[in-house]
């Protein structure tokens, strides 16, 4: 039996309480993901004044406004590109990106793969609810096969992305996945990402009960979350490159990591060498 490990964590210390009540639908998993993020920041004693959160457009993108930090709600699909400029200009900050499956994998897919390749220190949370919720329930790059959305009235016939396999193949320094059912595990996964020196990509399997769940007759939020829990397989990653699309047997936890040089530090090191050489010539 899991005891309440968050007894010493008061989430209100990290929220803009004047923004409450929040706008998320009843049963939405995004609030749980937000709590796990704030819990992780609390346990790492991250100074709110040194925390910058950049988010895109969509339901996940709205979360930044609730966090008591320097927050930037930017354009659709581009939070990683904004965060790249911010993190390079201000290496003293903790830069966290909150994105959704459409924001991160469809319109922002190019930025994701290059952020992974570049390995700049940014912690990216992708909240995956398999659907464009805010715009009314259209198909996304992670919508499961045969699912109904407003733009797949015949059932989705496109294969969906395994975002973690993609991030891993593109070179991200730290890649992991968790479900909202396992909040302490999710918190630990995010902590690992925040502590990782390079780019960290964390996929949170969230749920959209109101729109996606209703459309596909998936039941209540607890039913959706429990189904996700039964689908996962906590383990090391398997066949990460060979299987680009999600199987029903979803691995969770830390799925891959590497210790490639962090981009910002490598750039500053090279710049320092140029400056030293110039001084030597002078």
């Amino acid at each position: 039996m899991m005891l309440d490990q968050s007894a010493d964590f008061d989430v209100r210390g990290y929220l803009r309480l004047q923004m409450m009540p929040h706008f998320l639908c009843p049963g939405c998993g995004h609030g749980i993901a937000l709590r796990a993020l704030l819990w992780a920041l609390h346990e790492l004693a991250v100074d709110k004044d040194r925390l910058a959160v950049v988010s895109g457009i969509g339901c996940a993108g709205r979360l930044s406004a609730y966090i008591d930090a320097s927050t930037f709600h930017v354009t659709h699909g581009r939070p990683l590109a904004y965060a790249t400029g911010l993190a390079l200009a201000r290496p003293d900050l903790h830069v966290v990106v909150i994105s959704g499956d459409g924001d991160c994998l469809a319109i922002g897919g190019n930025h994701l793969i290059h952020a992974c390749r570049r390995n700049l220190k940014i912690t990216c949370l992708m909240l995956n609810n398999e659907v464009y919720g805010m715009t009314g329930g259209q198909v996304s790059p992670t919508t499961s096969e045969s699912m109904l959305t407003t733009t797949t009235p015949l059932g989705n016939s496109e294969p969906h992305f395994d975002a973690c396999a993609l991030a891993s193949a593109a070179g991200a320094g730290y890649v992991g996945r968790e479900v909202t059912h396992h909040v302490p595990k999710l918190k630990e996964l995010i902590k690992g990402g925040l502590e990782h020196p390079g780019f960290a990509f964390i996929e949170v399997l969230s749920d959209c009960t109101e729109i996606f769940g209703r459309k596909n007759d998936l039941g209540s939020s607890p039913e959706m979350v429990l189904r996700q829990k039964s689908d996962i397989r906590p383990s090391a990653y398997r066949d990460s490159v060979e299987t680009p699309f999600r199987s029903s047997d979803l691995p969770t936890g830390v799925l891959s990591r590497n210790d490639r040089p962090e981009y910002g530090a490598a750039y500053r090191k090279a710049a320092a060498a140029i400056q030293a050489a110039r001084r030597g010539r002078a």
């Binding site: 803009r16 923004m19 709110k48 004044d49 040194r50 925390l51 910058a52 950049v54 930044s64 406004a65 008591d68 930090a69 320097s70 927050t71 930037f72 709600h73 930017v74 354009t75 581009r78 590109a81 904004y82 965060a83 790249t84 400029g85 911010l86 993190a87 390079l88 200009a89 201000r90 003293d92 900050l93 190019n110 930025h111 793969i113 290059h114 750039y267 090279a270 710049a271 140029i274 400056q275 110039r278």
Partner: protein, 388 residues
Amino acid sequence: MSTTPVTDARTTVRQLSGNHACALGAVAAGCRFFAGYPITPSSEIAERLARALPEVDGVFIQMEDEIASMAAVIGASMGGVKALTATSGPGYSLKQENLGYAAGAEIPCVVVNVMRGGPSTGMPTRPAQGEIMQSRWGSHGDYPIIVLAPASAHEIYTETQRAFELAERLRTPVVLLYDQAVAQLTETVDLGPAGTRAPPERRWASGPRGTWQPYATDADGVPAMARPGDGYRVHTTGLTHAESGFPTQNPQAVERNLGRLFDKLERNRALIDAWQALQCEDAEVLIVAIGICARAARRALVQLRERGVRAGLFRPITLWPFPHDALRAAAAHARAVLVPELNTGQLRLEIERVLPAGTVHGLNRYDGEPITPAQIAARVRELAETTP
């Protein structure tokens, strides 16, 4: 390096292309971040800054695309660092959405658009002036923006510095708009005595932290800006926002905010407006031109005056907001106005809006070649003879 001293190491005069002058002007203005994507004919700006910025603790990054470059520049500026990107036609189109974000959220940044032939991929190595209207109206929605149109390498050097000054002081994106001919023409640039011009500084947030309103302003309509790390912990969004920085759809707050954006530039026209008026005092035919066309017009003016034709040249250096009052003054005695430009007639639209109907004529070339002084002189003589 293409910086070749003309006489000796102590001189501040260099032979530079317009694009290299832009890069040096940016560094002189305190720019310490550049994000870009390769595109002809603007790539020399990126190449120069890739070498120059790491030497002054700045950052250069080549991003994955044009959209990301604009986004990274805004991200760096939100972090408190002066930032630049440079591109040309197709890339400029791609930057428009994020340029609108910078306008709406009031994030200072400078964007260079080197104009080449268009539409679409067009003629990458040929001069054109097809983005005169796009530079004003390119992003969606209603917003104001400053666009500067330098016409020589030296002026690109000084106007790049002024672009940063305007961007930082007024919290707005500023576009530097010049054509391929001016961009790649190598000519004399006086870099000036180093260190005499203080780089412009943004007005930073000050005062109590708990109740601070990020978009509340002083009398000049420009809000001070908070940096991450300063303890203000503010929210920045592309959604329409109130003084608090948080999204709102309250009609009064929405109107107040957008009205202030326009008012901010109008109130600071003394800082923004810049133009050159040559021999306009008695000009019966007025030429209005920017960029390489203004260079040709200047040559034409000499020939015309030698032949006794009373011609003048009005050259807006600040293209947007357009210096209407200065144009009206320059055109006071003009019977006819000629607008030579490398497009089918974009600048002419604005001149027609300001000056009496029927007096404004076009001279347009859109074949990838610049308009010659002889073409301008011939058309001016014709107008002088035929206009009552």
